[in-house]
Amino acid sequence: MTSAALNSAPVAAASGAGQTIFRRNLRQFASNRLAMASVGIVVLFVLLAIFAPFIAPHDPNETDLFRRLQPPAWQTGGEWAYLFGCDALGRDILSRIIYGSRISIFIGAAVIFVATTVGIAAGLAAGYFRGWVDVAISRLVDILLSFPYLIFAIGLMAMMGPGLVNIILALAYKEWVIPCRVVRGETLATRELEYVEAARALGASSGHIMVKEILPNILSPVIVVSTIRIAHVIILEASLSFLGLGVQPPTASWGSMVADGRAHILGAWWVSTFPGLAILLLVLAINVASQGLRDAFDPRFQE
């Protein structure tokens, strides 16, 4: 071994063939079996949502009053063609759950997308420019944070009326505050770091500094928080639908399916049990996956 080789040994050892922190984290995440299984479940649900028309055994809105409250296949009176049984209008519960995943996933993703985009922009501006921009944004955040989430969404839905876009707005209205706070905090901390000052010393513009120097470094906590929040938003949407303020019938949504089944719990447990299980499964999978993500990507949780 030559001295030159030894000289660069620590570099080579630390570099592990030129991989980035990101890749190392990703590898750590991939080695978390529970998290990977959860990712699998989430992917499965996404596929169900995308290919619902090809997967669902029946038209989710096809009513058949002769199959009213038909029990699931394994109970007497059930049929294998209607695995999870039928609801009060004789619609296939399984097919409705499959179609319902579209609403849950779409709204969850859309809300988080809107909220994260807005939150990053506002948080960056507040944390970077400080001064009155920060005061204005932070005050708004404080104010919005003072409303319990559900009652705020309910209030908004009551005002705006039902509808897909309105649900997304009603949820995103407050949701952006969460990434905003994370981004603002991280930006405030990051902007004081010397590498940001170095960029300024080299003559970089505010835009360059925010987008190129700060943003990439604060993205992982934001992504981690956002994935956790998707789970939250899905439950919130289901809660709104449960209260009858969500998407409108006959569109299948898990929350309203549970609500529909509520009247039947004495006789027909399956009507609300299966959609509830679907929510639980998806939300649980997202939570487990995002916890794995957090463990892998957020240095504060690393040993």
Binding site: S3, L6, N7, A13, E303
Partner: protein, 334 residues
């Protein structure tokens, strides 16, 4: 040297950390001797294993770290064989430790008085058994300790929280806590690194004063050869998990045997060298994972030869002097 003279003897200590990148051999066959009443300086660059060595002595190495082998004898008793409870009785009472950063080592949520008196409560046997008398005695001793380390108006400051003190004062409070039960050995892990020079001088002087007064032994861990030169009787130079040179301070500084020690001394910028080039050691400290059995300083050593590619043991190079270099000839100890 009489057996009784040695307060602490560490033999062949190996402490490792199991990490995802492999086994980090943080302390790899270290021997330490601390004599009664002396001040031993431990110097070395960051990561050379100074803190881990003495955490091991205190029995404070936590997972993923573990002591792989070695004996730690304190007054003849092997600490590695003690139960957790027995070890707890020794910690604080017989061996105390101060930590590098007083800012984080004092509990922010408890008053200074509480953190001081709990130490007395746990270890001081001279106090009344219980009740108000004991509480009063503890309080008096606490005040006395704070006064000893030079905190003005100690009575009123007992009720304050760490953040209400300046950095230097916190460092002194930590020393007061460590000294409260009258330990036989104080391990001071870089007590001044976080402080300004003027404050650093105050704190070091305090430790020297108290040592002289109480007659205990002190291990002073530091980066700074200057500190060692001014405060320590003996010095131990560590490099990459091993001791590379050991001896009385004057000897080591005036006549360094190991090329690393020489490099270290040569790297210090000095006023006296103005205008003359300094001769830094080239390269950097090797990674402690999967080291070959050769001399650890090989890659940076200006005097290396092929002979250095084998493992090297500590050799005695004079009375009370040892170093780890193949180029040295072993000297018979009288």
């Amino acid at each position: 040297m009489s057996r009784n003279e040695n307060l602490l003897e560490v033999d062949g200590l190996r402490t490792v950390f199991d990490t995802s990148e492999g086994v980090v051999r943080a302390v790899d066959g270290v021997d330490v001797t601390v004599r009664r009443g002396e001040c031993l300086g431990v110097v070395g660059e960051s990561g050379s294993g100074k803190s881990v060595t003495f955490s091991s002595v205190m029995g404070l190495v936590r997972s993923p770290g573990r002591i792989e082998s070695g004996a730690i004898r304190f007054e003849g008793q092997d600490l590695t064989r003690l139960s957790t409870r027995e070890m707890r009785a020794i910690r604080g009472r017989d061996i105390s430790m101060t930590m590098q950063d007083a800012l984080t080592a004092l509990n922010p949520a408890l008053t200074v008085g509480e953190q001081l008196s709990e130490m007395l409560d746990a270890h001081d046997d001279d106090l009344p058994a219980r009740g108000a008398a004991r509480r009063r005695a503890i309080r008096d001793r606490s005040v006395e300790m704070l006064r000893l380390v030079g905190i003005p108006s100690p009575e009123s400051r007992l009720g304050q929280y760490p953040h209400e003190f300046s950095g230097g004062m916190r460092q002194r409070i930590m020393i007061a806590i460590a000294l409260a039960p009258g330990p036989k050995l104080l391990i001071a892990d870089e007590p001044t690194t976080a402080l300004d020079v003027t404050i650093q001088a105050q704190v070091l002087e305090l430790i020297s004063d108290i040592r002289a007064r109480l007659g205990m032994s002190v291990v002073l861990i530091t980066h700074d050869l200057g500190v060692v030169a001014e405060h320590c009787d003996r010095v131990m130079v560590m490099y990459a998990g091993q001791v590379v040179e050991e001896g009385s301070t004057v000897d080591v500084i005036s006549n360094p045997q190991h090329p690393y020690t020489r490099g270290l001394l040569g790297s210090i910028p000095r006023l006296s060298l103005r205008g003359k080039p300094i001769r830094p050691i080239q390269g950097q400290v090797p990674n402690l994972v999967g080291l070959p059995p050769q001399c650890r300083f090989y890659s940076r050593c200006p005097e290396r030869t092929d002979a250095c590619l084998q493992s090297v043991e500590m050799r005695s190079v004079g009375p009370d002097r040892r170093a780890r270099c193949i180029a040295l000839t072993q000297e018979e100890v009288a």
